[in-house]
């Protein structure tokens, strides 16, 4: 049997290759001189990601073309995941920019920092386009490994290292479980290609009948591993610690992109590969969704540290998104479940990175991250307070902000799938979440300011915050096309 070397379709890989090129350039200029790196790293990272974002338009995603066998799929799902990852990457770079601008950053390691960030974006894009377990796993790991290192980036501070260590140990533990599940699926179906797995399972699984225990074991091992990645209860416990410990721009980043990678993996593995088992996993996801949203939103009430509070609130949002996935029904032609989750992730990108961005903005002005630190912010910095208020209200799900539409589409998907109880749970939990989101606003607007205030100029961070606030305000009005794009997934995954 001769060696079959088939030239891949490189044109499908242009966006990730641009990101990779940016990484290489970043490392190259860092090698040339540290001063050059300090000056050009940020613009380079921004430009590279913007270019990659633009290059998304160069591919005809509608064809669902594959390359490297079927390992890499350029379909609608991949497009939306890449889009969200790149937007989140760009916004995170803007949020990180504050550090260099305010003069707080030691100036060392900026290029490495950005390179790691881009590696994680790259990994997420790969997960979105993965056609087999191996590529998916490597993408997930690339995304995770880079974020482990980023979490510890403030290594002079012990909490940063502590958060990173917890994240890493548990992440590696969960990865082992995930890979074990993959190994089982491989053994039971004889393939690691998602399409083949779905094909084989369809011949084995009879709807409504109990299935082979080994298959269930495999499914649950996968669910646990993936549940960790997206921070679903009870696999969530790393989240608040890692978010609180990490440097704030990294918290902003890691609250979104690894979650995007996780949900992309969930969609690829469960919805595409294990679709014949949807009777089994849909119920599991619904259960996890309920537990997750209740836990996250309730415990967030008891927090005084904003980063930690946002960590718990992120768990709550995971619950909402899981609920959207639990609305999956094979019978429905216009199934909205994955589409609603993709839209939710898109909306979540702006409001959550924005909320962390405001905290970073405050830190650069010498404040801490607790509720007391935002007291009286409205008097000190009315625009920052307004921006934060917008993010908080949007996270709460206040119409007509972006967050409202996100929840609305998830609820719609649930109602159409007949899962009324989860829809009700989302509404109730949104009401609960109001208490801690509104508390931030109360603090900002009705309390007297305290602490030191150090005026610095952070134009790029300000620009990023303005963009995110504007998007949170206005994107709801143009949610139609984005939702339409997100709803094209069935062509990709089924």
């Amino acid at each position: 049997m001769p060696l079959r070397l088939v030239a891949p379709e490189w044109s499908l890989l242009v966006p990730p290759l641009i990101v990779l090129g940016t990484i290489v350039l970043l490392l190259a200029i860092d090698a040339v001189s540290e001063r050059t790196a300090r000056r050009f790293a940020l613009p380079l990272a921004l430009a590279g990601q913007l270019l990659a974002l633009g290059s998304l338009a160069s591919i005809d995603w509608g064809q669902g073309a594959t390359t490297f066998g079927v390992s890499y799929r350029a379909d609608w799902f991949a497009l939306v995941v890449s889009l969200i990852a790149l937007v989140a990457g760009i916004l995170s770079v803007l949020v990180s920019a504050g550090y260099t601008e305010s003069g707080l950053e030691p100036g060392v390691g900026l290029a490495e920092y950005l390179a790691l960030l881009l590696f994680s974006v790259l990994g997420t894009m790969v997960v979105g386009a993965a056609g087999d377990f191996l590529v998916l796993l490597l993408g997930l790991e690339m995304s995770a490994v880079a974020v482990y290192a980023l979490t510890a980036f403030a290594r002079r501070r012990l909490t940063s290292v502590e958060g990173a260590l917890k994240y890493f140990l548990l992440g590696a533990f969960a990865s082992a479980i995930l890979i074990y599940g993959m190994a089982w699926i491989y053994g039971l179906t004889g393939s690691i290609k998602l399409s083949d797995i779905a094909y084989t399972l369809r011949t084995v699984v009879i709807p409504g009948q109990p299935v082979d225990p080994a298959l269930l074991l495999a499914l649950l091992l996968l669910a646990v591993g993936l549940g960790f990645k997206i921070a679903a209860v009870p696999f969530h416990m790393w989240t608040p610690d890692a978010y609180q410990g990490a440097p704030t721009p990294v918290s902003a980043y890691m609250s979104v992109v690894p979650k995007v990678a996780g949900f992309a993996a969930v969609a690829r593995i469960l919805v595409q590969g294990l679709q014949p088992l949807s009777d089994q996993w849909a119920g599991l996801l619904a259960l996890l969704a309920l537990v997750t949203m209740v836990y996250g939103n309730v415990v967030a009430i008891a927090q005084r540290d904003l980063k930690r509070m946002l960590g718990y609130s992120a768990i709550g949002h995971t619950g909402y998104m899981l609920a959207g996935l639990a609305a999956f029904t094979t019978g429905l032609a216009g199934d909205r479940s994955v589409g609603s989750v993709l839209f939710y992730l898109f909306a979540y990108t702006f409001m959550n990175i924005g909320a962390f961005g405001v905290i970073a903005w405050l830190q650069e002005r010498g404040l801490g991250t607790t509720l007391d630190d935002v007291a009286g912010l409205a008097g000190r910095a009315p625009l920052a307070a307004l921006t934060m208020a917008i993010f908080m209200l949007s996270l709460m799900g206040m119409p007509p902000l972006l967050g409202f539409y996100a929840k609305y589409y998830v609820i719609l998907a649930l109602i159409e799938a007949g899962q009324l109880w989860l829809a009700v749970a989302i509404v109730v939990m949104s009401a609960v979440s109001a208490s801690f989101y509104l508390r931030v606003i109360t603090q900002m607007y009705f309390q007297e300011p305290g602490g030191t205030w150090r005026p610095v100029r952070t134009p790029l961070l300000g620009l990023g915050l303005a963009v995110m606030a504007a998007a949170t305000l206005a994107l709801g009005l143009v949610s139609g096309p984005i939702l339409e794009l997100a709803q094209r997934w069935p062509a990709a995954l089924t």
Binding site: P234, Q280, R304
Partner: protein, 633 residues
């Protein structure tokens, strides 16, 4: 006849882009070059509007551009679509044209302001919102931009937010508008539940199927929105306070955007109002009362901008009166002419303020004619147009409204309007005489009043020409150009036969009344044969009533704001401090204590976190193996 085109979007897009650019880059990069973007953008928008109006009005052809689907949720589809019919075309011309002039004027007026870029970010945003409001093809989009207009006005009235009064005025405008908007939103919701759609055309076709009670409720709720936005009785109180904003903003709010939105909306929804005689009657009464009340208040004011502001309220009352008696075309005609002379009056008083170093009190002016001839003559034209002196713009449109009211079965309201016309002439010329005639009541050695620079003067002249001539678009009455232009929109409206003698008679009457007002003003403030103080004393309570704005503000303050304030404070104390903060402190509230309990799970020990993961795995796998697999079957 309608045509789908793809260039309509530039009309709103140009100002929007300018606004975004100025907002994003204004502070660091654009700074005092902000007008380089904003002014051409709005000008471009105006040119595009002219092009659109040319097609629409010239060929009676509907222009349409679908943009995208905003909400797509099963059956409920809300497309965002730009539609231009004759009514929209006229509105577009007014909005973009006047806005353009105001933008040009602002270059000079706002020069040196530290928030220059901010001003030129909000101003085009305002124009964008208003243009979108006018271009909307359904009630939901209309509502969204209705709100956006409110937000922009808030930003602009409170532009000098460091000044307490400005911040207060902005808040007042926002809150009062919110009351009206609440009714408006209710109306739209009711409409949707009854009709199932919000597209204009579909709604209007469905109206005959509804019961008269429903239609009346919907119409009145919609009109509540107009009461707020177009400053009708009893919600007009925000408009005079809105003078705290920079003068170009006042001009924009009063002449082109914002207040005309209410009138436009009622005209747009005229099939709904036509189906409810009761609602129409209420509109007419409120309109007539507003015009009279505001005119009397204006007569007693000394702040030049407030005089003009109350005059706006009064003129809006005329428009509402016209809407109420079913005179749709005269209402829009008056809106059209009013835009010119009101913008002129505001920009003129802005020029006076500019020259007088922000002095607003007319008692400290006088004799300015000598130093500011250009301002004087343009303002006289504006005042005369406002007062309804033939043959200037205001005369034709106002006269037509009075005639329509008379034949429309409301002669009493027409008489009220006539009385208001008397006061209009009185307060307008009172203002002109106090400002420009007589001896200077300030120290001319310290202040050196002068005509404004070219960027401010040119808009004044252009508007003065408009104020003088646009009335002829409606000549002859009932058959002028504007009547033919708007005919197709209001086809369904009934027509009353008007006799020539009636038209002539009312024209003569209103001219006489106007000259009477002018003469009294002349006697009192130029010749001095009539003492205003003596007249005020003789009128006693009536004077005080007018001077205090008919006590509307007082009543609101005492019976609405203060109780609400107390309630809010109580709510804040008990709910926020008691419950929400209490929750944090671990009080006995269930959720809070659950939160406190559950947070203990997070021990900070990695091993426990890993145990949790393992526990979850074991429990889930076990449960699934037992209940879901073939293991025990």
């Amino acid at each position: 006849m309608e045509r789908t085109v793809d260039w309509l979007v530039v009309i709103p897009l140009a100002p929007l882009l300018a606004a975004i650019a100025n907002f994003l880059f204004g502070k660091w990069w654009i700074r005092d070059r902000a007008h380089w973007l904003a002014v051409p953008a709005v000008g471009f928008s105006f040119l595009a509007s002219v092009a659109a109006a040319w097609t629409v009005l010239g060929h009676h052809q509907l222009l349409r551009q679908p943009l995208y689907t905003w909400i797509s949720a099963g059956e409920f589809q809300v497309p965002v679509e730009l539609v231009i019919d004759e009514l929209t075309a006229i509105m577009l011309l007014v909005v973009t044209g006047v806005s353009f002039l105001v933008h040009v004027y602002s270059i000079g007026y706002m020069h040196h302001d530290p928030g220059y870029y901010r001003f030129f970010a909000w101003l085009p945003l305002f124009v964008f919102s208003m243009v979108m409001l006018v271009l909307a093809s359904n009630f939901l989009v209309l509502f969204v931009f209705w709100e956006a207009v409110g937000l922009c006005s808030y930003l602009l009235i409170g532009f000098w937010f460091r000044r307490r009064s400005a911040a207060e005025a902005a808040k007042k405008a926002f809150v009062v508008n919110r009351i009206g908007d609440f009714g408006f939103a209710l109306g739209i919701m009711l409409l949707f539940t009854k009709v199932g759609t919000l597209e204009y055309q579909a709604v209007f076709e469905a109206i005959p199927r509804l019961s008269s009670g429903t239609v009346t409720t919907i119409a009145l709720l919609l009109f509540t929105g107009a009461i707020g936005k177009s400053a009708q009785l009893p919600l007009f109180v925000w408009l005079p306070d809105a003078m705290e904003g920079p003068t170009p903003v006042s001009a924009l709010i009063h002449a082109a955007t914002m207040v005309t939105a209410g009138i436009f909306m009622v005209a747009r929804a005229h099939p709904i109002f036509l189906a409810s005689p009761l609602a129409l009657w209420i509109v007419a009464v409120i309109g007539a009362l507003t015009s009279f009340v505001a005119a009397t208040i204006a007569t007693t004011q000394f702040d030049i901008k407030r005089v003009v502001a109350y005059s706006t309220v009064s003129q809006l009352g005329y428009m509402a009166l016209a809407l109420g008696v079913g005179a749709w075309i005269p209402a829009i005609f008056h809106l059209f002419t009013h835009a010119f002379f009101k913008a002129l009056l505001f920009l003129g008083s802005g020029a006076v303020m500019h020259a007088m170093h922000d002095e607003l009190d007319m008692r400290r002016m006088g004799g300015l004619k000598r130093w500011m001839p250009l301002t004087y003559w343009t303002l006289v034209i504006g005042a005369a147009a406002n007062a309804g002196i033939a043959p200037l713009a205001g005369f034709w449109s106002k006269d037509e409204i009075l005639v329509s009211a008379w034949v429309g079965g409301a002669p009493l309201l027409a008489l009220l309007g006539l009385a208001a016309a008397f006061f209009t002439a009185l307060y307008m010329f009172r203002a002109v005489f106090l400002t420009f005639h007589g001896q200077p009541r300030f120290d001319p050695h310290q202040l050196h009043p002068h005509d404004p620079p070219a960027t401010m003067a040119v808009p004044l002249v252009v508007l003065a020409i408009g104020a003088a001539t646009t009335g002829f678009l409606g000549v002859p009455p009932e058959a002028g150009w504007i009547h033919h232009a708007l005919e197709p929109v209001f086809e369904s409206a009934a027509h009353h036969e008007v006799t020539l003698s009636l038209t002539l008679g009312l024209a003569i009457a209103s001219t006489l009344v106007a000259f009477a007002g002018l003469w009294i003003a002349y006697a009192a403030y130029v010749r001095g044969t009539l003492s205003p103080a003596a007249v005020a004393a003789r009128l006693g309570p009536f004077y005080r009533l007018a001077a205090n704005g008919w006590y509307f503000d007082f009543i609101y303050q005492r019976y609405v704001v203060r109780p609400l304030d107390a309630a809010a404070t109580w709510l804040w104390r008990s709910v926020d401090v008691g419950i929400i903060d209490g929750a944090v402190n671990g009080s006995a509230r269930i959720v809070a204590s659950t939160a406190q309990l559950w947070r203990r799970l997070q021990t900070g020990l990695v091993a426990n976190y890993a145990l949790m993961i393992a526990l979850g795995t074991v429990v889930l796998v076990g449960a699934y193996l037992v209940f879901g697999s073939t293991l025990f079957r």
